[in-house]
C-alpha cells in the first residue's frame, strides 16, 4: 500500500455558542486526523461535543455557534476559509453526512426517487434517465429490495431501517471521500442496526470512503472503527487504535466508561459506574474536566489543564498520570 494519505486534519478547533447565558465552549481545542479509507470513531457521552465537531466540519453550525479558533483542512483545503458556495459543493459531493433521524434530511413531501435524482443533479449534469438508473443502482447497493418501486414511495411509507438505508444511498451517490455518520443507528432496533453497520463496513471496503463514526455506543465502536477518539466535556481525552482502546485504555474516563458497559457476554453482579454527573461545557474552567469524578485526581488536576501526552506510538492521553513517562514528547504546552 502507498504511504498513508490524510483526508481530514482538524487542528486546534474551538467552537463556541454565544447564548444569552454566556459563551458555551462546546468544542475546546481539539486535534485529530482521518486517514484515507479509515473508520474513525468519535465516542463520548451526550453533550461532549461530538455533533458540534461534525457540524463545524460541514459548515452547518446553528446561528449561535461559531468556530472561534483552529483550522479544518480537507484534502489540504481550508474549510474554515472556504466560501459558502464552495462549502455547498463540498457537502454531498465530497463530504456527506447522515444523522440519527433520517427524516431530518428526507423531505416528507417528495417521493424517494425525486429526492435521489435531485441529489444527483445538484452535483452532476446528466440526463433524467441516467439519474434514474443511478438512483436504482444506489438503492440496490445499500441492499434495498424492489428498488424500482421504491422510487415512487414517500419516506413515511418506509420503516426506520429502510429510511436510514435510503439516507446512506443518497449520501453515497457522489462517492464522497468522507462520510460523517452521527449516531446513524441509535434510533434503530439491534437487528436493523447490525444490518446498517455491516452495510457501512461494506461501503467503506468497496468504495474506500473514509468514515467518521460518531457514537456513544462502545459496542458499535468495536464493531466498525479502526481508530478511536474519546471526548469528554469538549476535549479529546484519549486517542488510539481500536484494539488499544479496548485492551489498554489509559485515561481514567475511558477506563470508567468501558467498565460501565453492561457487556452481554457475562453477568456482573454490580456494574461499575462513574460517580457524579457529566459536566456542562464551560462549567469547569480550570484543571482537568474529569477531576471531580476521577478517583486518581491529584492536587494539580484541579488547577492545571493536562495536555495530551504521547503514551505509546499511536496513543495519546490527556492525563497527568502519564506525565513522567511522556513529558518530553507532549504535544502542546500546558496552558496556565
Amino acid at each position: 500500500m502507498d504511504k498513508q494519505q490524510d483526508i481530514l486534519h482538524v487542528q486546534g478547533l474551538r467552537t463556541s455558542f454565544f447564548t444569552d447565558n454566556g459563551i458555551v465552549p462546546a468544542v475546546d481545542h481539539i486535534d485529530f486526523t482521518i486517514h484515507k479509507g479509515e473508520v474513525l470513531g468519535i465516542v463520548g457521552e451526550s453533550g461532549c461535543g461530538k455533533s458540534v465537531t461534525s457540524l463545524s466540519i460541514m459548515g452547518l453550525l446553528p446561528q449561535a455557534g461559531r468556530i472561534v479558533d483552529g483550522e479544518i483542512l480537507f484534502q489540504g483545503e481550508s474549510l474554515t476559509k472556504a466560501t459558502e458556495k464552495r462549502m455547498r459543493s463540498i457537502r454531498g459531493n465530497e463530504i456527506a453526512m447522515i444523522f440519527q433521524e433520517p427524516m431530518t434530511s428526507l423531505n416528507p413531501l417528495f417521493k424517494i426517487g425525486n429526492q435521489l435524482t435531485e441529489a444527483i443533479h445538484t452535483h452532476q449534469s446528466c440526463s433524467k434517465e441516467k439519474a434514474r438508473k443511478r438512483s436504482v443502482e444506489m438503492l440496490e447497493l445499500v441492499g434495498l429490495p424492489r428498488a424500482e418501486q421504491l422510487l415512487n414511495d414517500y419516506p413515511h411509507q418506509l420503516s426506520g431501517g429502510m429510511r436510514q438505508r435510503v439516507m446512506i444511498a443518497m449520501s453515497m451517490i457522489c462517492e464522497p471521500q468522507l462520510l460523517i455518520a452521527d449516531e446513524p443507528t441509535t434510533a434503530l432496533d439491534v437487528t436493523i442496526q447490525k444490518q446498517i453497520l455491516q452495510l457501512m463496513k461494506e461501503l467503506n471496503k468497496k468504495l474506500h470512503t473514509s468514515i467518521m463514526m460518531i457514537t456513544h455506543d462502545l459496542g458499535v465502536v468495536a464493531e466498525v472503527c479502526d481508530r478511536v477518539v474519546v471526548m469528554y466535556a469538549g476535549k479529546i481525552v484519549e486517542e488510539a487504535p481500536v484494539r488499544t482502546i479496548f485492551k489498554h485504555a489509559l485515561h481514567p474516563y475511558t477506563k470508567g466508561l468501558l467498565a460501565s458497559v453492561p457487556d452481554i457476554r457475562s453477568k456482573k453482579d454490580r456494574l461499575q459506574s462513574i460517580p457524579g454527573n457529566v459536566p456542562k461545557p464551560g462549567s469547569i474552567d480550570k484543571g482537568c474536566r474529569f477531576a471531580e469524578r476521577c478517583e486518581h485526581a491529584m492536587e494539580r488536576c484541579f488547577t492545571e489543564d493536562p495536555p495530551l501526552y504521547k503514551a505509546e506510538e499511536n496513543q495519546q492521553v490527556r492525563c497527568f498520570l502519564y506525565d513522567t513517562e511522556a513529558k518530553e514528547e507532549s504535544h502542546e504546552t500546558t496552558t496556565p
Binding site: E45, S46, S159, G161, M162, D189, V190, T191, I192, Q193, K194, Q195, L197, Q198, H216, D217, L218, G219, V220, V221, A222, E223, V242, R243, F246, G256, L257, L258, S260, V261, P262, D263, I264, R265, K267, K268, R270, L271, Q272, S273, I274, P275, N277, V278
Partner: protein, 324 residues
C-alpha cells in the same frame, strides 16, 4: 419456595384500526397476543424485544391503565380485572410504574416535594408531617439530598431525574415495580449508577421488578429471568443465565448475535437477521417469526407453535422443540 406475585394467563390486547368516513373497524393491531408468564416474589423478570413487540402494552395492562381484550391477570392471587374501583385503587398502590423519560412524566411546574407528596395524598396519608418525613427519607434512599425537595425537575440531570421517578414510584411502598426502559435515555456512566440503585432498593425493600428494555446487555445484568417477545408474542422465557448462554428460539439467537460486543477481537458476522419486522396488524400466519427464520419448516407457516415448558423452567414457542 417460589411464590408467584403476579400471574398472567393468555392476555391479549388488540387495538382496533378504524377507517373510512364512518370510522368503522377495518382491522386490528395485535399488540399483545395470548401471552402468559408468572413473576415470583423478589425476582426481576426482564422483558426484551424490538420496538413495537408489545412490551409497554403489557406494562399498561398489568396496571389496568388499559383494559385487556382477553385473558387473566392475577396479583397475589386476586383477579385484578374483576376488582371494584376501591380495591383497584388499593392494588395500584402495590404496583408502580417507572418510565423511560422521567422528564416527560414529572410535572415541570411542581417542586420535587410536591411530586413525591402526590402519591401519598392519593393513598390517604393525611398527616402533613408524616408525609414530609417520608419524602425526606426517600430522597436520601435514592441518593439525592434533602434540599433537592425544593427544586424543580429541570434543575436536575437526566440521572437525577430518574432517581426522582424511582422515588415517586416507591412512595406508596409497592411490592411490584414495572420499569419501562428506565435507563434507556441515560448515558452509560449514569445508567450503571441507576441500575445499581435499583438493585440496592430491591434488596432493601424486598421489591419485585418487571424490567422492560430493548438493551439486552442491561437486561442480562439486572434480571433473574428473561422473556423474549416478538410481534406481540412471548417466544422464549427462562433463567437469565440460560437464555444468554444457551438460547433455543431462533429469534432469541439472532437477537443476541446482533448486539454489538465491546471487544474488537470478538466480532462475528454470522447470523445477521435479514428483512424487517412484519406489521402487528397483519402478522404472518403460523409462527409469527417464520418469514425471517432460517429454520422455517412447512408446519411453521400454518400452525402457531404453543408456548410450552420444554425443560424445567425453560419455555419456548417453536416447532423445533417439544411437541409443539
Amino acid at each position: 419456595m417460589k411464590l408467584p406475585l403476579l400471574e398472567v394467563n393468555q392476555i391479549k390486547k388488540y387495538f382496533p384500526i378504524t377507517g373510512g368516513i364512518l370510522g368503522r373497524k377495518v382491522g386490528e393491531v395485535k399488540a399483545v397476543d395470548r401471552v402468559s408468564f408468572a413473576v415470583y416474589k423478589g425476582e426481576t423478570l426482564g422483558l426484551v424485544g424490538e420496538s413495537g413487540c408489545g412490551k409497554s402494552t403489557i406494562g399498561r395492562l398489568l396496571l389496568r391503565l388499559q383494559e385487556a381484550t382477553d385473558g387473566e391477570i392475577r396479583f397475589e392471587d386476586k383477579d385484578i380485572q374483576a376488582l371494584s374501583p376501591k380495591l383497584l385503587k388499593k392494588i395500584r398502590k402495590e404496583m408502580q410504574l417507572v418510565f423511560q423519560d422521567p422528564y416527560a412524566s414529572l410535572n415541570p411546574r411542581h417542586k420535587v416535594e410536591k411530586i413525591l407528596e402526590e402519591p401519598l395524598i392519593v393513598h390517604g396519608i393525611k398527616d402533613k408531617k408524616e408525609r414530609r418525613e417520608r419524602i425526606m427519607n426517600m430522597l436520601e434512599t435514592v441518593g439525592l439530598d434533602r434540599y433537592h425537595a425544593e427544586r424543580y425537575p429541570h434543575q436536575f440531570s437526566g440521572g437525577q431525574r430518574q432517581r426522582i421517578g424511582i422515588a415517586r414510584a416507591l412512595m406508596t411502598n409497592p411490592k411490584l415495580i414495572i420499569a419501562d426502559e428506565p435507563v434507556s435515555a441515560l448515558d452509560v456512566s449514569i445508567q450503571s449508577q441507576v441500575l445499581n440503585l435499583l438493585k440496592d432498593l430491591q434488596a432493601e425493600f424486598d421489591l419485585t421488578y418487571i424490567f422492560i428494555a430493548h438493551d439486552l446487555g442491561v437486561v442480562r445484568h439486572i434480571s433473574d429471568r428473561v422473556g423474549v417477545m416478538y410481534l406481540g408474542r412471548m417466544v422464549e422465557l427462562t433463567d437469565s443465565e440460560r437464555l444468554y448462554e444457551e438460547p433455543l428460539h431462533p429469534y432469541t439467537k439472532s437477537l443476541l448475535s446482533s448486539v454489538p460486543v465491546p471487544d474488537p477481537d470478538d466480532q462475528s458476522d454470522s447470523e445477521v437477521l435479514t428483512g424487517e419486522i412484519p406489521s402487528a396488524s397483519n402478522p404472518p400466519k403460523g409462527c409469527a417469526f417464520h418469514t425471517r427464520c432460517k429454520e422455517c419448516m412447512d408446519v411453521c407457516k400454518t400452525s402457531r407453535p404453543t408456548f410450552q415448558e420444554i425443560s424445567p423452567g425453560h419455555h419456548v414457542a417453536c416447532h423445533l422443540y417439544g411437541d409443539a
